[in-house]
Symmetry: C2
Subunit: 415 residues, 2 copies
Amino acid sequence: MGRLTGGDPSLLRRINSAVVLHALRAATVSPEGRDPGAGADADRAPERAPDAAPGCATLTDLTRVTGLSRPTVEGVVEGLIADGLVVEMPAEEGGVRRQGRPARRFRFRAEAGHLLGVEIGAHRVAALLSDLDGRPLGSTVREVSEKAPADERLERVRGAVADLLRRAGVSRHSLRAVGVGSPGVVEADGTVHLGTALPGWTGLRLGERLRRSFRCPVLVENDANAAAVAEHWKGAAVGSDDVVFVLAGLSPGAGSLIGGRLHRGFGGAAGEIGALHLLGREATPEEVLSTTGEPLNPLDEGQVARVFALARSGDTRARAAVDRFIRRLVHDVGALVLALDPEVVVVGGWATGLDGVLDPLRDELARWCLRPPQVAQSLLGEAAVVTGALRLALDHVEEELFAVESTVTARRASR
Amino acid sequence: MGRLTGGDPSLLRRINSAVVLHALRAATVSPEGRDPGAGADADRAPERAPDAAPGCATLTDLTRVTGLSRPTVEGVVEGLIADGLVVEMPAEEGGVRRQGRPARRFRFRAEAGHLLGVEIGAHRVAALLSDLDGRPLGSTVREVSEKAPADERLERVRGAVADLLRRAGVSRHSLRAVGVGSPGVVEADGTVHLGTALPGWTGLRLGERLRRSFRCPVLVENDANAAAVAEHWKGAAVGSDDVVFVLAGLSPGAGSLIGGRLHRGFGGAAGEIGALHLLGREATPEEVLSTTGEPLNPLDEGQVARVFALARSGDTRARAAVDRFIRRLVHDVGALVLALDPEVVVVGGWATGLDGVLDPLRDELARWCLRPPQVAQSLLGEAAVVTGALRLALDHVEEELFAVESTVTARRASR
């Protein structure tokens, strides 16, 4: 609070503006568009006056909801209209008319800007477009070779985005923020500190490269972190603020939310639990799942699926390999649970599409953890990373628009 | 921010009062008493006007530092004097006199109340007394049998505290908060959810039992968590806000700070990494360190020290046992590091008093972690838990006195 020096009038003005915008936005978003369990937003949304017309609010509504004086609310609303964020609704035709001039009604202009979520993976890139309320307006997925060099992968991203914007009829200049989910340890400036899953990824200035294509902020995030955010927003972790999301694959990664906020760690490497076996110089995941003694190819998901299929068909060596794989996964997830003590563990990634991963995980954690968490399967599946990337872009814009918290608690910002 | 409704005058009054008290306190605490690297406090302390007399501040000083108007500052200061938290200093004698009446000077009354830190361990109980600035006024340690039942252990605590207060000449009624560090998973109300290290500890309503002896808030915390807070305050983790403290013993426990705040986990069980080996149904710590095949007695530290001494003297089986023990510790700490990605790992507990734990830990983490943390030995040693318990009591009182943050960001409180 070092910089908060008592009754700062400019701070008050910003608080008031944010509070009014927040009330307006809460009044104008339909229940479908804004999940009531979606954490921080639901907490923050002031109640709408019960008799307010859906989709808009009068000055009287706003005065009641915010506790501000009517002149203050009027001044703030005029400012928001000038900024293009609020519009006055035309007077209702044919509605119930009382004596005198009808009350002016206002709504938040969710169409005043757009947000983009981007996923960059080993086998595909994906993009998701929304308005300022996070309502999806379109999406696209493109395949890409696991061997594609970084330039080719980025070109694929640009193509997918351009196509999506064109189809949705949205101008690139309308984008307010772009969130990107990528494998690897990602630094605050969007550089991939370490990313062995994709060719040419370690050391790539991913944020800088993508910023050339956009005029708005580009936020790059580890893919498991993005997926954790997505499951919290509209997936298996809605309503819980202490979440570990496990991106279960040959080598698992994880993202975690603590008190509803992404925990990145001091150097952005939190949750990279796949390295745990290295400490004991144990077998690599590729060796664990091998039925022949030859390590599997880490990028060949088909090979892995075949081992699981063989195990299902009764093959003893495949069964043993799968058991080893599950035991390793349970150990890795157990380590995360003991370290973090989350309320919910959400399991996603390809391993959840294979039989028999979830039940042993649930059983073992229930048996051995001091306080076993709930274990749930990802609800968003393949869409988790791109959805989380979009949510991060939305978070960024909300912080700008509803800047009360970031104003007052700026010194807490971890990144 | 749901409850913050614009320019609330009572909120403003509280902010102003906190800001003034903060400025006064920053002006009156000597550099020795307030470590400049001690995290949140250092951040929050407003700068003292360069020409202010040390130890006190004038209304002009306070007006300049806080940015508040002079009448506001005067009103706040009068209120604080009435509360006994501030006192007007007598006019200086023999000092430089200017024309007219000398400026009134005020100081924070750190002696207006006292704080107590308490440690409850397997072999000893300890207590530490301070004033409202956290300046130590006395301490005491008493031995207790590892087999002592809960009642006897609590009686030992009460005796130690009574003796300490008497020796320091401090009345029990002057205590504003008591912090307690104890082994086990501790719930928010101070009940020990699980505490196998001490007889009769699981299910003990420790907070409730101790509250009978005090008229002030009693805050019970897991011992490793308390130690993490202490090392951050005045130990090996000063200046770092992302810390894992490992209480290294036969079965390690850990406490962690994330962004300078204690991370307790959803159910208070975060950091209980000693259970990790259970997930793989691996050997217990007592078996790992055994040289005979017979498990060690987990409460007998002498037995453990003998194994380490034997290893030093060249005994092959003891050396192998110690190697197994260190490998296990490295794995457990590695799991914490991968999950949390701290800046610093501080190792305390009895194992640090034994040879050869720290170097292999440092080497292995540096070799295998994606972003290796610094590894430091506890600076506070045996005093870590009781010091952290005192700091938690101080945090509690500061939140009451300097309530800006807790007022504005109450909905963020994790517990």
